[in-house]
């Protein structure tokens, strides 16, 4: 109960506009940071927190951090969120995407953008509570996974 109210309070305070007399914000290139939220400087340039310092760099550089074969589509503002839009190069996969290779095999794109095929029996066996595979299927959102049940 208390934590939920605290969360609401924090959200409410985020909307407070600073007035004169408040200390300057640390939001310029070279300032220290820990923030996960980038900001677009223009269509191709982003300000990101890299190694605890705000850094201005191109979206090409930013997208390259996600995988060896990622292309930049520029810096995109989506409501309160701003970031580089990155897509896989033609023929490459997007990290963490999945697809069923067969009824019993799951394909997975790892962070090196290499497509790896997993056997569902092996994946389910790693779960203590649900070690038995019922096969590979996509859920209602179209995301493929091995489905596992209790023994």
């Amino acid at each position: 109960m208390r934590r939920r109210l605290a969360t609401l309070l924090i959200l409410a305070c985020c909307a407070c506009a600073p007035d004169d007399g408040y200390p300057p914000l640390l939001d310029q290139a070279g300032d220290p940071c820990r923030s996960p939220y980038p900001s677009c400087l223009d269509d191709e340039t982003v300000r990101e927190c890299v190694d605890n310092v705000w850094v201005d760099r191109s979206c090409e550089e930013s997208c390259a951090d996600l995988g060896p074969a990622m292309l930049s589509m520029g810096c995109v503002v989506d409501g309160p969120l701003e970031s580089c839009a990155c897509v896989p190069e033609p023929g490459a996969c997007a990290p963490a995407t999945t697809a069923c290779e067969s009824d019993t095999e799951l394909g997975y794109c790892d962070t090196g953008q290499v497509w790896v095929v997993y056997d569902c029996d092996s994946l389910c066996a790693s779960s203590l509570a649900t070690p038995i595979s019922t096969g590979c299927m996509a859920d209602e959102d179209g995301v493929a996974a091995c489905w596992c049940v209790a023994g």
Binding site: P24, S35, L128, A129, C146
Partner: protein, 366 residues
């Protein structure tokens, strides 16, 4: 800071008939008593034994931590969240969340821990606002988070311009890196904020700030969240308890709107777990035990469905507002079960490994 002219509690109580015609709220009657506290709640707000034990333990722990003694019980006037605290007008203008003035705490349930720290510090020191508010934030029990302003830029500011998050995280960093003894000396030190720091620590405040920005984590773990009983383990990957939700029972918390109990669930194996309760409402939140080097975002697959994200994260797992099968990673979680109203009820709370089917994908690799 100029304090708003306001009748003292004694004056207001003595002249209640006159003052309240002019718009002043009466102070709540002090109706609860512990060894170190006398507590009154506005609008007949309810406190249960769990609230009182928590506040009393907090003050006792602070006495020990700060090597001080509270000579007389602290009077605490507590407003319920349902009544906007700012309307009570017992704190200086612009201080809407709570205050400690003339030996008494005026607070709501969100600010009481912060104000209790002020009350304990007041028994042995009178630090400048940067160190005073820093101590209140660092020692109130919650985690502290790196602010987006520089400590040096806040040194000479008063509330409401002073950024409490920056003062609190910097104070916690001093505690973590240079220990309690020096920190107590800092609080006692005289002079400006800068003078107090530089006569206590063997460096300038600018040198300290550079170290702080280089090494302080995004968040320090909390001191006392999840200070609740464990949910008993009743089998392999199964935990269960029948809990009597009775305001008079230890570990039961209350507000004017409802009462409930907290339990701590410790998960050692990542997996999907099914959470069920017979109570009207159940919730789960992470215990902020660990420091976080960088922020955690809701949706980060490494942290499952209940991540230690900034601002806290509570997931309701009963009724039609939430799901009852959650992906939980190893760690401690705070479970809450409760209901509206104050009648005594018996609640079943059970957590078990979900029987499936559940989706399984490979762990992300670095």
């Amino acid at each position: 800071m100029t304090l708003q002219t306001k009748p003292t509690p004694t004056t207001c109580a003595a002249a209640a008939a006159v003052v309240c015609i002019l718009g002043c709220d009466d102070l709540p009657k002090l109706r609860y008593e512990t060894e170190h506290l006398r507590v009154g709640t506005a609008s007949g707000g309810l406190l249960c034994q769990g609230n009182l034990d928590h506040y009393e333990h907090m003050v006792t722990d602070l006495e020990e931590l700060l090597a001080t003694t509270i000579p007389n019980p602290i009077d605490v006037y507590l407003w319920d969240n349902s009544q906007p605290f700012a309307e009570s007008e017992w704190c200086p203008e612009g201080i809407d969340l709570g205050c400690y003035r003339r030996g008494a705490v005026y607070a709501d349930s969100l600010s009481i821990e912060h104000e209790l720290v002020h009350a304990v510090v007041d028994t042995f020191a009178d630090p400048k606002p940067f160190w005073s508010e820093g101590a209140a934030e660092a020692l109130k029990g919650d985690r502290t988070i790196l602010g987006n302003t520089a400590p040096v830029d806040n040194l000479d500011l008063d509330p409401p311009w002073l950024r409490y998050s920056t003062a609190g995280h910097f104070s916690r960093w001093l505690l973590e890196t240079h220990g309690l003894e020096l920190y107590r000396e800092l609080l006692r030190a005289r002079g400006s904020s800068r003078e107090a720091f530089e006569q206590t620590y063997d460096m300038t405040i600018e040198e300290a700030q550079a170290l702080y920005f280089a090494e302080a984590p995004h968040a320090y773990g909390a001191f006392n969240t999840c200070d609740h009983p464990d949910l008993p383990q009743t089998g392999d990957l199964q935990w269960s308890e029948t809990i009597e939700i009775d305001c008079a029972a230890p570990d039961v918390w209350g507000t004017s709107r409802g009462i409930g109990a907290f339990r701590v669930l410790t998960i050692t194996e990542r997996g999907f777990y099914e959470l069920t309760t017979t109570e009207q409402e159940g919730g789960i939140a992470p215990c902020f035990d660990e420091d976080l080097e960088t922020p955690v975002l809701v949706g980060d697959p490494a942290y499952g469905d209940v991540p230690p994200a900034s601002g806290g994260f509570l997931l309701v797992f009963t009724g039609d507002r939430g799901k009852s099968v959650l992906d939980l990673v190893p760690g401690r979680y705070e479970l809450f079960v409760g209901h509206g109203g104050h009648e005594i009820q018996t609640a079943e709370l059970t957590v078990r490994a979900a029987p499936g089917p559940i989706p399984q994908t490979p762990e992300p690799t670095e």
